[in-house]
Amino acid sequence: MTDQRREDEAAAAKPTAAPKPAAPTAPAPAAPRDVIFDVDDINVFYGEHRAIRNVTLDLHLNEITALIGPSGCGKSTFIRCLNRMNDLIPTARVDGKIIYHGEDLYADDIDPVQVRKRIGMVFQKPNPFPKSIYDNIAFGPRVMGMKGDMDEIVETALRRGALWDEVKDRLKTNAFGMSGGQQQRLCIARALATSPDVLLMDEPCSALDPISTGRIEDLMMELKREYSIVIVTHNMQQAARVSDMTAFFTVELHDEGRYRTGAVVEYGETDKIFTNPDDKRTEDYVTGKFG
């Protein structure tokens, strides 16, 4: 039933339509939404110091969730919990549970490499590999041992990344020759090539000009039909434009400001967070009085 509904909406949504927050789900707000990540009381420690505390929220399937908040509030730390990128920091420790498709990502028998194959990530600064455009896309499928026509896999990924028409004649040229915006879309296409079902984006537009940013936002609106997207952004308008749900993080200072811990102040529908938030701190932040 829900699948049927989603397909109908997908058919109804026009790719070229101006991005409107929460448009596809707005007609049926009462319907319970499927949860992709059930985050239960997550705490992250770097050594002795707690970087984020007690984060508990449900991230929804086929929606865009925005994480906003001032610098140092732990948004990036949190998004990196979702694909276990924090494992790469030797001193980092994650407490709590993140249930994804019924499994705790932090259970002992979970291999972080397998997690990252299902949950793609795009970083703040475009980080193409110093290889051809083709090889950038093919890298993920190759390390996964994906069988099939690699040319087709590459083309599909580049089309999904809205980059195919711009690069189809120079697939074998070095990716470093692309513009910053193209590089970032290449990184998105690269993440899509392995067919993940979640896309994590850590400030994907902060290094881009407004036109490239607009392209990537359009792309996100396209992609959410097939993927669930979590995005960290410092750009409030961007969060308001693209996201369905928004979580506002803040910084708590301890020991006279020597330690900073991030925590979620408020989490809810993007419309509500931006127009009628419950918490005064959220209101101050989204209206620009603070941060």
Binding site: P90, R116, K117, M121, N127, F129, G140, V143, F176
Partner: protein, 302 residues
């Protein structure tokens, strides 16, 4: 120039004042100092080259390259056995240093937990070993490789291992630099796509750093090629009239041959030494040029 333009230029002068006399004098002083420093080192090099070329150039010939050294007749003497000995030594040295050096560098950069004391100990040791005089490696080679536990005798393999030990720290340090130059964002990008750590190293980090690593290896080998002291200590043959025919063969090398000739009382043998130095310098220049070529050709601009 119209009056208005002159006035405009004068106005600009007022906004951006000229450098003060003291500043300019200071700059000139340092420029002269730098030119002098460069001049002195160039002069030393040119003098050396001239001196060697004057004695040696007339002696360099195909016969010189393809004859065995003679103790008695300088005209019939050559460096064939020394060239082959050096080639054998380099092959053994490279075969040991390349895998060992790269693997150690990968371990230290990508796997080692720097909070553990044993990893820091290894690091400090390698830094110090790079500064140990080469003759000490010769003594080590003599005590542990030629005699002692390995007991290989005064053979190619023993010489190659000794030289490998000598340049290994340098290779490790250069390879680590090259690996560190690969930005962390490349590793993150690879890991985020579900690549394992080994896949990330093998397919991203190593290709991104191989030019730097190769450059370091070539420079290390060109240092090994000129090393004399350790080979003398471990007992390389002098004036052998045969080429090494395997790892277990006695050997000589270019620097050993040069050393033997320069200490000869006969002036003609000393001139042969100059000729051999010329040959060795050409080889060194070729190797270093190749290293520079590699660096420029494959250098990664991140």
């Amino acid at each position: 120039m119209t009056g208005a333009q002159i006035a405009e230029r004068a106005a600009r002068r007022a906004v951006i004042p000229q450098a003060s006399g003291a500043d300019r004098a200071f700059a000139t002083f340092f420029r002269v100092l730098m030119y002098t420093a460069v001049g002195i080192s160039m002069l030393a090099l040119v003098t050396l080259l001239y001196d060697v070329a004057r004695d040696g150039l007339p002696k360099v010939s195909w016969d010189f390259l393809t004859s065995f050294p003679s103790r008695i007749i300088p005209e019939n003497s050559g460096i064939e056995s020394a060239i082959w000995g050096t080639l054998w030594l380099m092959a053994v040295c490279a075969a040991i240093v390349v895998p060992l050096g790269i693997a150690t560098a990968i371990y230290l950069e990508e796997y080692a937990d720097r909070t553990k004391w044993w990893n820091r100990l290894v690091e400090v040791n390698i830094q110090n070993l790079a500064a140990v005089p080469s003759v000490v490696y010769g003594i080590l080679g003599l005590a542990f490789i030629v005699r002692g536990p390995l007991d290989l005798g005064r053979v190619v393999l023993a010489g190659g291992i000794t030289l490998a030990l000598l340049v290994l720290p340098v290779v490790i340090i250069v390879a680590r630099e090259a690996i560190r130059a690969v930005p962390p964002s490349i590793r993150e990008g690879s890991l985020a796509l579900g690549a394992t750590q080994w896949q990330t190293i093998w397919k991203q980090v190593l290709p991104g750093s191989i030019a730097g690593i190769m450059t370091g290896i070539i420079l290390a080998l060109s240092r090994a090629i000129g090393e004399t002291a350790p080979l003398i200590v471990i007992g390389a043959a002098v004036n052998p009239r045969f080429n090494p025919d395997g790892l277990g063969s006695a050997f000589t090398a270019l620097p050993i041959q040069i050393f033997a000739w320069t200490t000869d009382k006969d002036r003609e043998f000393v001139e042969l030494a100059a000729a051999a130095i010329l040959v060795m310098m050409v080889v060194l220049l070729l190797m270093n040029s190749f290293a520079i070529f590699l660096r420029n050709r494959y250098e990664q601009k991140w």
